[in-house]
């Protein structure tokens, strides 16, 4: 039995995962359907997988916050999940309930976790890690949330910049809040 690995990623329509403008989180386009859907996604037990850079920014944003602050509910649930951080530089302890740092090659580590984990694996952000995992055929699902903005001037971190060529099977898609599109694909190296 192999655990399913999902790469969960947010993007503008033009493919940027982040920005240096004044859009705010979710590019200011979050609505109740998106937030409810995110909460549902994190309702089941999973193991989170992060690269070092993404985990550092998660710690900055979520590390010291606890239930009852202004963190969206899904972030609170995500933070509570068992977490593997793939890094050769980070050392704990962290303000994160159950985080383990593993150093080494991300492909080897995730291949091993897929064999051992009793719960599904889910990554958020962590671009270069996930490009390597996709190229190695370890990503079962790319869960892309497309927010209705083009960020030609303020976009940062193109989400597929370092990816190879992939064929994609569309597994699920839905429109949230009338303007945000979630697309879930199964990628195969072309």
């Amino acid at each position: 039995m192999t655990a399913t690995y999902t790469w969960d990623i947010f993007s503008s329509i033009d493919g940027f995962g982040s920005h240096n403008g004044d859009w705010g989180g979710y590019w200011g386009k979050q609505g109740p359907e998106l937030l409810d859907h995110r909460l549902d996604l994190y309702d089941v037990e999973q193991r989170m997988i992060f690269g070092a850079n993404t985990f550092r920014s998660m710690l900055d944003i979520l590390g010291s916050r606890t239930e009852g602050t202004d963190v969206d509910g899904w972030n609170t649930r995500m933070r509570a999940m068992p977490t593997t951080v793939i890094s050769s530089t980070l050392t704990g302890p962290f303000e994160w309930p159950d985080a383990t740092v593993v150093s080494g090659d991300g492909v080897d580590i995730v291949a091993r976790l897929k064999g051992e984990s009793e719960v599904p694996l889910r990554s958020h952000g962590s671009l270069s890690l996930n490009w390597a995992l996709m190229a190695a055929g370890l990503v079962d699902r790319v869960q892309l949330t497309l927010f209705p903005v083009i960020t030609g001037q303020t976009g940062l971190e193109p989400i597929f910049e370092g990816a190879a060529d992939f064929d994609l099977d569309l597994i699920e898609n839905r429109t949230l809040d009338g303007h945000t599109q979630e697309l879930i694909y199964r990628p195969t190296v072309h």
């Binding site: 329509i13 033009d14 493919g15 240096n20 403008g21 004044d22 859009w23 705010g24 490009w131 892309l144 497309l146 209705p148 903005v149 083009i150 960020t151 030609g152 001037q153 303020t154 193109p158 989400i159 597929f160 910049e161 370092g162 990816a163 190879a164 060529d165 992939f166 064929d167 994609l168 099977d169 569309l170 898609n173 429109t175 009338g178 303007h179 945000t180 599109q181 697309l183 694909y185 990628p187 072309h190």
Partner: protein
């Protein structure tokens, strides 16, 4: 007033073309092709730049599939380098600045317009705030290695109101928006 539709097909990573892939990345299907054949925009004037004209008129001259339908459409080609007469049927050459010309056609013309390919023309029309609808049909492929001509390079920041989304053949995703160009620098924009 006539409307202007910017109409693209792309990969999931935003490329309009790729080395070594067939047309539509080989992923067109019956639902998508039927929609193409029955588009309500069939009577729109097609706008294109010189590069797209050279490419498409070359395909048409070779009799490639699908080009018969294009021959009958009214087409405007914006170029300061092409010379009359244009050989592809129903093509009109405009050497005036495209933004000025399209603004004038929207103000004084009677026929709606849509683009075909023509990345830099579309970028200029979008940045000038002339575009009423932005439609992209996303094909299920990532071309991080072989993609060329990312359609969004050098774009402004644009807010999008979704007006339509549809899935064809269980794999091809249409997304359609009303664009609003955010023209002040982000730091100066009121939040």
């Amino acid at each position: 007033m006539p409307e202007l539709l910017v109409d693209f097909i792309t990969t999931l990573d935003g490329y309009g073309a790729a080395d070594g892939w067939p047309g539509w990345w080989g992923l067109q299907g019956p639902e998508y092709l039927a929609w193409l054949g029955n588009q309500p925009e069939a009577d729109h004037t097609v706008l294109m730049g010189a590069n797209t004209y050279r490419l498409m008129s070359g395909f048409a001259a070779k009799g490639e599939p699908g080009t018969d339908e294009l021959a009958g459409l009214s087409k405007i080609v914006f170029s300061s380098t092409l010379r009359e007469p244009l050989t592809w049927a129903n093509s009109r050459l405009v050497s005036q600045d495209a933004v000025e010309a399209v603004a004038d056609m929207k103000q004084n013309g009677a026929t709606s317009m849509r683009t075909m390919g023509s990345l830099s023309l579309c970028r200029s029309l979008l940045a000038a705030g002339l575009v009423d609808r932005f439609r992209v049909v996303v094909f299920p492929v990532v071309t991080g290695s072989s993609g060329r001509e990312r359609i969004y390079d050098s774009y402004p920041d644009i807010a999008l109101d979704m007006i339509n989304s549809h899935t064809f053949d269980g794999r091809i995703q249409l997304l359609e928006y009303i664009p609003t160009v955010l023209d002040s620098p982000p730091a100066e924009r009121p939040s």
